[in-house]
Symmetry: C2
Subunit: 136 residues, 2 copies
Amino acid sequence: MDDPLAHLPGYALRRAANAMMAAFAARLAAIGMRVSDASVLMLVAERKNVTASQIGRVLDIQRTNMVPILNRMEAAGLIDRLPLDGKSLAIVLTTAGIDRLTQVRAIAENFEAELLDRIPAEHRAHFVPALHALWR
Amino acid sequence: MDDPLAHLPGYALRRAANAMMAAFAARLAAIGMRVSDASVLMLVAERKNVTASQIGRVLDIQRTNMVPILNRMEAAGLIDRLPLDGKSLAIVLTTAGIDRLTQVRAIAENFEAELLDRIPAEHRAHFVPALHALWR
DNA sequence: TATTGTTATACTCTATAACTATA
DNA sequence: TATAGTTATAGAGTATAACAATA
């Protein structure tokens, strides 16, 4: 049965995002990672001495929900929590974290390239600018 | 802090979809509706004697997860479940369901128009085609 | 006084397994 | 034999409230 809601931009946005997320999650699951783990890993790699609260503000994850993510990554030996002062902790990658980052980047770059490739050429350059207009 | 992942199409897709969904859910909450309720309501209006399984296949909701949605809508007096044969049930709108549909459509049409309006004119016509390429 | 990290908790959405009855 | 509807349950993401300690 065809979908009578498919023409609605918001509905199509949700369906496309859900399909994309499921596919990306499946690829990350192959190396035991979740999407949130991967985004934290990539962000920490780009920001020296970033705190959990700062990560949460950038990725739109409440700091209370950062705790289980960082606990899981610390338990996996991917990150350390180092005191910056008496209150804040710097999240830094361990050697294992840097190795894992290499894997995550390979998966992500591959995935993003394939995603863009699926968009017909005449629409491709308009995609990210349109999304940014809705979000940033 | 600026977001070093913002340039990634998949990441931007997720962030835009999340922002859009939160805004749409907030508007529907004003009339006591959830996003899934609203999409079911609009689909049922377009398809005569549709079953729960068919709704699930179109909207990508497993039939097991259709049960609480339809229970909630039935308890709210928005739908009836009428036997089609000994096995299947037709989901049909009640009078209250038709009234609620009018409200939902007003909210949805307003929301979708505002969403499109936020996209710069030169990107607008490319948006839904690009999303369809990723999903359908 | 605002912020950081944390615990506890609840709600929504989604996923799997299993069962009954009917096409 | 495949499908419809359902129950029970578990996982994952997300939300609020509250607290101690520090800037």
